[in-house]
């Protein structure tokens, strides 16, 4: 740890450069993803839901359909663009709601005594040990599939993890000296949480949000692939893969594009989250 200075400094410098690379690549990929989704509201190559049998199964590279068309003649690029919207709606929606619920629960657990802490922490442990995918199957089948059910399922999986992370981050802030002085000054608990704790854990919150946004996109794709996620007229990349496998077989390029889109977007968000973690919170160790 505190041996000679030279060997510790050199790896650290190299490490920082490597991390910035992940931030830059992450930002570029994520912005590209968001821009494509926004553009899809104003412009699409063609309607992604209206079949056009005369144009069915066009190969990639066809004029006007650069990535080709599917078994019903629907343009692939248009479907991928609308699919990006679903990924954002469901992924970011699930991550946002879990972030809010998890922050409230985590702060209560950290600041409101042992009983609240035990109840919330053990509750989160229990929820974490329930396999999400199986529950989501049941949920989708009983509540009916759709974007809202998927967001609901994601919220149920992600909130306990958020709660844990926020709790431990808040606890370490609450032990700082400036919290003690705020208490001595006569500040109430709510004021201290809002004014001192939340700004100090904002970095953790942003990083976690990014990583769960990515996890949400993966889970949504999985559920839609199983046919219990979103349904048309909404379009999901997972659903496109399912349709490709059902209608034309897996060897067609139709089964490649949506998978590639998922990998690029999830990779971008994960790199962004890792990069942000090292910039915003150097103390926090790299995990998961």
């Amino acid at each position: 740890m505190n041996t000679t200075t030279a060997p510790t400094i050199a790896p650290r410098r190299r490490r920082r450069l490597e991390l910035n690379a992940s931030l830059v690549v992450g930002v570029v990929l994520t912005i590209g993803f968001l821009v494509i989704a926004i553009v899809s509201f104003f412009w699409l190559p063609s309607n992604p839901n209206i079949p056009n049998i005369k144009n069915r199964m066009l190969p990639p590279g066809t004029v006007d359909h650069w990535l080709g068309t599917d078994g019903l003649g629907r343009d692939i690029i248009a479907q991928l663009m609308v699919g990006a919207r679903t990924s954002i709606l469901v992924g970011a929606g699930g991550a946002t709601i879990s972030l809010i619920l998890g922050t409230v629960a985590g702060l209560v657990a950290a600041a409101y005594g042992k009983i609240a802490d035990e109840t919330i922490s053990r509750g989160a442990d229990i929820m974490l040990s329930i396999p999400g995918m199986v529950t989501a199957l049941v949920l989708a089948a009983t509540m009916g599939s759709g974007a809202l059910t998927t967001i609901f399922a994601l919220t149920a999986f992600f909130t306990p993890s958020f709660t844990r992370v926020i709790r431990s981050a808040a606890m370490s802030v609450l032990q700082e000296d400036f919290i003690t002085s705020a208490k001595l000054y006569g500040r109430g608990k709510l004021f201290i949480l809002a004014r001192h704790v939340i700004p100090n854990i904002a970095g953790v919150m942003i990083v976690q949000f990014t990583l769960y946004f990515a996890a949400g996109i993966l889970t949504e794709a999985g559920l839609s692939y199983l046919g219990v996620g979103v349904t048309r007229p909404s379009i999901s990349w997972g659903m496109m893969l399912n349709e490709a496998q059902q209608t034309v077989g897996i060897s067609s390029p139709l089964a490649m594009w949506p998978g590639l889109a998922i990998v690029i977007v999830v990779l971008g968000l994960n790199l962004l989250g890792d990069g942000l973690r090292d910039v915003l919170d150097p103390k926090l160790k790299r995990r998961s």
């Binding site: 040990s129 995918m133 529950t135 049941v138 993966l218 692939y225 199983l226 897996i250 089964a255």
Partner: protein, 315 residues
């Protein structure tokens, strides 16, 4: 140790209870007259009432919950409304597909992740370590079903070595059964490995910076010797925990992979029974899976307590 074990046991029982309540409410919350849906449109009111009565579906929900739980405690998981098959039989029939798939997937993941993760940790800051970290990052971003599709295009369609889906029963042909499992296990294992490599890497990195590794090196061991003699044993603890946590992920992956390769495992049975509103079958099967996962975590906690005195004494 006894107090530690009792605490963990209490948590295990509490978790199972809460989960059973949650599952019951989730499945029954959808409402509707289950008996009417099961019997279809042409059923007479008497037939519907008779079925509802026979299965206790006409009783208040708390009573139904109580009966379900007490029956399960006595080993009776219930039976299907339509086929009258017992849930225990339905489940055991599917286990010969799901269990080998999930276990081999996990095993393959560990076999890849432990050496690769250790290598990546030892070469942190070097190009080879960075490349491995990047590969693992990409692997994490690949949805498990897409990995399945890609592998089945390569080995099934292009090379024609292995079936792209379907199932041959063990009794019919053990080799056929293994052949139908190779690609599913490969997809599951590779994606598990990508996730696990990161955990192994950071666990080994942590250990490498510990004082006892420095001491071991100071007494003359090489880096490799130090890592093998004291490092891996200590890195094993966090890795065991992660494997426990990954069990839920593993089951999620198994569910999807069974669909990709149309294997007649547990997940297909659950989906079919959900669609048919066989509430008892679904409830009991899902509950069995959840108990299994919670039990694995319980066992991991106990193992952790045995391996590391600091853990059991902290409680």
């Amino acid at each position: 140790m006894a107090i530690y074990a009792l605490r963990k046991l209490a948590f295990f029982l509490g978790a199972v209870f809460v989960a059973s309540l949650a599952i019951f409410i989730l499945i029954r919350a959808a409402g509707g007259n289950v008996a009417a849906i099961v019997l279809g449109k042409d059923a007479t009111a008497e037939a519907i009432n008779a079925l509802a009565h026979a299965y206790g579906l006409d009783q208040p929900l708390p009573v139904q919950y109580f009966n379900w739980v007490t029956n399960m405690l006595q080993g009776d998981l219930g039976q299907s409304f339509r086929t009258k098959e017992s849930v225990a039989d339905l489940v055991t029939a599917r286990l010969s597909v799901s269990v080998p798939l999930a276990l081999s997937g996990l095993l393959l993941g560990l076999i890849i992740a432990i050496p690769v993760g250790t290598y990546a940790a030892r070469n942190v800051g070097k190009p080879s370590g960075a490349v491995l970290a990047l590969i693992s990052q990409i692997g994490i971003a690949v949805p498990v079903f897409w990995a399945g599709i890609l592998l089945s295009v390569l080995f099934g369609v292009k090379l024609g070595w292995l079936p792209t889906g379907g199932w041959i029963d063990w009794r019919e042909s053990p080799i056929g059964a293994i052949r139908s499992l190779v690609l599913p296990v490969l997809s599951l294992g590779l994606i598990m490995a990508a996730v696990l490599i990161r955990y192994v890497r950071s666990a080994v990195l942590d250990v490498m910076n510990q004082d006892y590794v420095r001491t071991a090196r100071a007494v003359g061991m090489t880096r490799t010797q130090a890592l093998l003699s004291v490092g891996l044993r200590n890195a094993a603890l966090p890795i065991v925990t992660i494997v426990g946590l990954q069990i839920a992920e593993l089951i999620g992956g198994t569910v999807i992979i069974e669909m990709v390769f149309s294997l007649p495992g547990l997940s297909r049975m659950i989906l079919a029974n959900v669609a048919a509103r066989e509430v008892i079958v679904v409830q009991s099967t899902v509950m069995l899976i959840i108990i299994f996962v919670i039990f694995v975590n319980f066992a991991v906690d106990l193992l952790y307590g045995v391996l590391d005195p600091r853990v059991r004494n902290a409680a």
